[in-house]
C-alpha cells in the first residue's frame, strides 16, 4: 500500500513506533471494526479508532441525540440534538479523518439481523446500554467467530474484557452465565454515571481493538479489568473458560440466538 504525503504526516507518530510502523498503519487502514452504540463508550472509542485510521468503522445505534447524552457522549454536540446518533457520529468522524469509511446502521440490532451485520467486520466493540443486547452480541460474536471487546459501566465503576472463544478463550457467559432478571438491577437512568468514566472505559476498548489489529501486546483475553474511579484503582482478574458454559463449551446447549426481554438502560 502506498501512503499519500498527507497520510505519512497524519500517522507519523504511529509510523515512528517500532510496534506499528508502516506495516502496522497499513493494517489499521485495512481493518474493519464494528461499534455497537454511539453512546457513552462508543463516542470516545469511535473517535480514537477514527483518529488511528481504522479504514472501515461500522456504527449501530437506534437512538437519537438527546440533551442528557451530552454530559458524556462527546462525539455528538448541541446542534445534533434530535439527529440519529449513528449519523451524528459519522459526521464527526468524517470531519476528523477522511480516510475512514463509515457505515451506519440506524436501527436496533436484533437476533434476526445481527449476525449478518457482524460478518463484515474483523473486530466487534460492545458499547451497548442493556444486558439483553450484551448477551445477544456475545452469542452472535461466538457464532460468527469474531473477537469481542466488551466495555460496560455503572456509576463510578467500569469493566473491560476481550472475549474470543473461537481461539480457545472464554466468552462473556463464562464470566456471567445469564442476564439478570428484569427489574433486579437498578435502572441506570436513575443510578447515574460519571461522564468522564465513559472516556476511560471507551478509550480502553479502542486501545484493545488497535492492539488486536496490530497483533501487538497482550489483549485482555481471559482477563477482566475492573476500574473504580472513586478509588482510582484498576484490578485485573483472570477469567477461565467455564467447562460447562452454555454457549462455548463442549456441552453447550445454546445453538441459536436468544432474544431476552429488553430493558433499556439509557446510560
Amino acid at each position: 500500500m502506498d501512503f499519500t504525503e498527507e497520510q505519512i504526516e497524519r500517522y507519523s507518530r504511529h509510523i515512528i513506533l517500532p510496534e506499528v510502523g508502516g506495516k502496522g498503519q497499513e493494517k489499521l487502514l485495512n481493518a474493519k471494526v464494528f461499534v455497537l452504540g454511539a453512546g457513552g463508550l462508543g463516542s470516545p472509542a469511535l473517535m480514537y479508532l477514527a483518529a488511528a485510521g481504522i479504514g472501515t468503522l461500522g456504527i449501530a445505534d437506534g437512538d437519537h441525540v438527546d440533551l442528557s447524552n451530552l454530559q458524556r457522549q462527546i462525539i455528538h454536540n448541541n446542534e445534533r440534538i434530535g439527529m440519529h446518533k449513528a449519523l451524528s457520529a459519522k459526521k464527526t468522524i468524517n470531519e476528523l479523518n477522511p480516510d475512514v469509511n463509515v457505515i451506519t446502521y440506524e436501527e436496533r440490532l436484533t437476533a434476526d439481523n445481527i449476525r449478518e451485520v457482524l460478518r463484515d467486520y474483523d473486530i466487534i466493540l460492545d458499547g451497548s446500554d442493556n444486558f439483553p443486547t450484551r448477551f445477544l452480541m456475545n452469542d452472535a460474536c461466538f457464532f460468527e467467530g469474531k473477537p469481542l471487546v466488551s466495555g460496560s459501566m455503572f456509576r463510578f465503576e467500569g469493566q473491560v474484557a476481550v472475549f474470543d472463544p473461537t481461539n480457545g478463550e472464554p466468552c462473556y457467559r463464562c464470566l456471567y452465565p445469564e442476564p439478570p432478571p428484569k427489574g433486579l438491577v437498578p435502572s441506570c437512568q436513575e443510578a447515574g454515571v460519571l461522564g468522564a468514566l465513559a472516556g476511560v472505559i471507551g478509550v480502553l476498548q479502542a486501545v484493545e481493538a488497535i492492539k488486536i489489529v496490530l497483533g501487538k501486546g497482550k489483549p485482555l483475553t481471559g482477563s477482566l479489568l475492573i476500574f473504580d474511579a472513586l478509588d482510582m484503582s484498576f484490578r485485573k482478574v483472570k477469567v477461565g473458560k467455564d467447562p460447562v458454559c452454555a454457549l462455548c463449551s463442549d456441552t453447550a446447549t445454546i445453538k441459536e440466538l436468544i432474544t431476552y426481554e429488553a430493558e433499556v438502560c439509557e446510560i
Binding site: 466495555g151 439478570p180 441506570c188 443510578a191 477461565g240 467455564d242 460447562v244
Partner: protein, 67 residues
Amino acid sequence: MIKITLNGEAYSIEEGTTFAALLEGLNISTVGVAVERNREIVPKSTHDIALLEDGDIVEVVRMTGGG
C-alpha cells in the same frame, strides 16, 4: 475455622464451606454477580462444589451493563 477476606473484610468460616454456602450465609444475591478468588474468577457452575481455603481473598464483582 479458616480465615478469608471478603470484599476487603476479614471473616472466619467453617472449613469445607463452598462459595454458594458463603454467599447464601451472608445474604449476598448471586444474581448478576461473579466471584473472584485471589484474582481469578470462580466459574458460577462450580460455586456449589468449590471450597474456600484459608487465606483466600474473595471479591464479589457486580455486572455492569451501561454503555
